[in-house]
Symmetry: C2
């Protein structure tokens, strides 16, 4: 049983015992994807991190309302001249429709999350679906005197705000730091101070997505949607707000300011942030050639990848690190994670076949307590996995007759593994479901056969294997460490 869950709160910079606002209920909001591109590791990490938080809180018998938004209010622009011409012709269908792009990438995102076995959130609100709620909140901020309108745009008056509420509590920046760090020139001339930020922007003629408002045609500032949707579905003050560390400033800081300014109420009790991801020690970036999207991992179709890695390998790899640590992706690290994952899942299978004995040589209760203690300690999944590997060692020893478990202890061990491996960590066996792992295993056999053929100087067979694989779209790479394969 979970005793008490400690959560590291970015707001206070320490671990705190989690107490929910409403007994047995948790309201959790997590910043979701902007659906204008392929889902990548930067989506996988918060997706998996907060999926495990969601699963563990449910396991601890909370009724959790998990809200994760879809940011679909993009800032696409028409070519002004062409746009006008087409409007004259009323050829609506020939124009770029941002919602087609949104639909395409929302489907990719959902598909990737499903493959990673992330449970769908309870509610998945869209920014464009909550323009009214955002306008209402902006009106409230204006009424309270914490914002001003200039030329059809509305800005939050950070200096004014700072007189009543301390600005920068989440990020630990004070107003002077912020002022120094301000580089954004957008709307600079209109703003009273460079630290002010737009909560409503006037739309130019070229701007495609825009709505009527009390301030003319425009669109909400990008921090508004989370404030408005969090409040709508979870209340003015809710339990947990999660997201990537890169969102602490300015996004989450702005959310706090918007809520205080509108409702005179602190919106969130516990702020949780997952750390960032690097690839081969470098920040991911399109210009660096190390920007690998999730589908490329799953199929191995990126030049940096030696082969495909299953969604469960990715999931295992991410959970092998604590969510507040950085994670570096490399082929070696992923291959190690794959081995670890397979070892764990093989033990799950072995466990089902173990026979009970008269006495136990191992304390399953202690294992269970250790597992709960790890998760209660700010969702420490690497420690949890280490404890589960203690269990794996025992499972294999019992199989080999070196340790023994009574019938009730065996039952208990099965329950512990089902709870922590399947329900909480969300690992599912990829055997026999036709996913990459099956191909991987069969390919391992094929490579072994080719190795044997070469050893036996049966070059006909070795060539046959290479040629047939080639037809299938599989390329074999030979190196000193042996052979590997990847999709062409």
């Amino acid at each position: 049983m979970s005793k008490e869950i400690q959560i590291y709160n970015t707001l206070t910079r320490k671990k705190e015992v989690f107490t929910s606002i409403v007994e047995n209920h948790v309201g959790m909001y997590v910043c979701g994807p902007t659906v204008y591109g392929d889902p990548h590791l930067g989506h996988a990490r918060p997706g998996i991190t907060f999926d495990v938080v969601f699963r563990y809180l449910k396991h601890a018998d909370y009724k959790v309302r998990y809200v994760r938004n879809i940011t679909d209010a993009g800032h696409l622009e028409n070519d002004a001249d062409e746009g006008e011409d087409k409007i004259v012709k009323r050829a609506r269908l020939e124009q770029l429709e941002p919602m087609e792009i949104v639909q395409f990438f929302t489907i990719s995102y959902h598909s990737a999350m499903e493959k990673l076995n992330c449970l769908p959130p309870s509610i998945e609100p869209r920014a464009t679906g909550h323009i009214i709620e955002q306008i209402e909140m902006i009106k409230g901020i204006l009424e309270n005197g914490f914002a001003y309108e200039v030329n059809g745009s509305v800005y939050l008056d950070v200096n004014k705000y700072n007189e009543k509420y301390p600005y920068g509590t989440l990020s630990g920046r004070n107003l002077e730091d912020t002022l120094e760090g301000t580089r954004d020139l957008d709307g600079q001339s209109e703003k009273k101070s460079p630290v002010d930020f737009a909560i409503w922007k006037k739309a130019s003629a070229e701007h495609i997505m825009k709505w009527r408002s009390p301030w003319g045609e425009g669109f909400p500032g990008w921090h508004m949607e989370c404030s408005a949707m969090g409040q709508k579905y979870l209340g003015r003050n809710f339990d947990i707000h999660g997201g990537g560390m890169d969102l602490v400033f300015p996004h989450h800081e702005a959310e706090i300011a918007q809520s205080n300014a509108c409702n005179d109420c602190n919106p969130v009790n516990y702020w949780m942030h997952n750390n960032m991801i690097t690839v081969d020690g470098k920040k991911m970036g399109k210009s660096l050639g190390n920007f690998i999207n999730l589908e490329e991992f799953f199929t191995g179709s990126h030049a940096k990848l030696e082969r495909a890695y299953s969604p469960m390998t990715i999931r295992f790899f991410i959970l092998q690190a604590h969510y507040r640590s950085t994670v570096d992706f490399s082929n070696a690290a992923l291959q190690a994670a794959e081995k670890g994952f397979n070892k764990l899942m093989n033990a799950m299978e072995t466990l089902q076949k173990l026979e009970p004995s008269e006495k136990s040589t191992y304390d399953v209760n202690e294992l269970e307590q250790n597992c709960y203690a790890a998760m209660d300690d700010d969702f420490n999944t690497p420690i949890l996995i280490a404890h589960l590997f203690d269990g794996v060692r025992i499972i294999n020893s019992v199989k080999d007759g070196k340790e023994s478990l009574t019938s009730s202890n065996l039952e208990k061990l099965k329950n512990v593994f089902t709870a922590f491996v399947t329900d909480i960590l969300g690992f599912i066996s990829t055997k026999g479901n036709g996913e990459n792992d099956l191909t991987n295993e069969v390919m391992e056999l094929v490579l072994k056969l080719r190795e044997n053929a070469k050893k036996n100087k049966d070059f006909k067979s070795a060539d046959l294997i290479r040629d047939e694989l080639d037809k299938t779209g599989i390329q074999i790479k030979d190196s000193r460490e042996g052979s590997s394969w990847k999709l062409k």
Copy 2:
């Protein structure tokens, strides 16, 4: 090649040659599900019908923007007393949140559509995401004098409308018929005439989903969303609007009225309606015990079902009838459809293995022309399937050496089958469910290697293959026709 597509237009009650408004582009709007319940046959039929229309128009080289909405603006109500009490306690999380229900059933709907191999529409707008657009349209109707406000609700003034535009053109009802058929007492006392319908409704205190508007807190009338979203994404006048026949009146009739009243512009050129579904000769109904949802078909878990029927069997069964005919579901009919589907897919497989001859005894061009002619004739899928079965007969005769095809004719036949069976009808092989194609192909190679090893009396390799596959969970079956494999 498609020559010219004829579409039966509900508006004119005859088949018309299809001409798109913008050259090479088609805008198509189809009424989607109300996501407050499990997806059932009433969702499958329009889903599949308009999927085939979408596929065929794309095959005919149109760039199609296919919009299908999600109706998520439900009319759930709180218990007033309890609701108030909870608002006082600010226990937001304990309240019913309609969007949780919406999320749950949207996911089920998408999952069912994916299983039925219906392509996702280009845009899938939600009613609650377009409240502003609906309000704007209501304002327009009021400004043009075709609506009036009473106590915070807005009604379309049908008599006034009928003075300028004929009301009832789509359903063939005149105003007197409509007056007689009116039984809806909702808001009767407020309305000038019983035929008037609400385009905005004032929300009672118990109503959960409501928005601020120029007429107070309320929600749009249920016909508004399709008018507003169709116009937003396809323009004021677009090509095709589809839906079930039960939507002709009042829903689609109301859509026409709303668009004319707001824009003085006929919204849709071609109205298409699929016919209804019965189960064992009776209308589906929860009280009749014959209300079977799609998941129950797929798993066979409903008392009326003798066993499970695959999504492809359902798809084949629905497409065996023309979309404007009724369809009656029964175990016998589904089992017959399953046989037909398997026969067709087996022929697809056989086709890939046929050997060419010096001369052809069969005219593939004629078959191709027949297939196009069937689809050009108001998407006549049963006739198309009949022609494809002519092809199946030839494929099997060629296999048996009773007919022959030249190499170029064989290529052509393959192209015809791929185009019509896979691309247009959207049938996919369900064989080897659970394995992906790559595993299948690699396994084919493995079986070949084992065959070779046995031939060469290299039993060590043959056994290695069997044992290693066994570990992976793959079982090899040897028979006279050769070896095959399956997951254990």
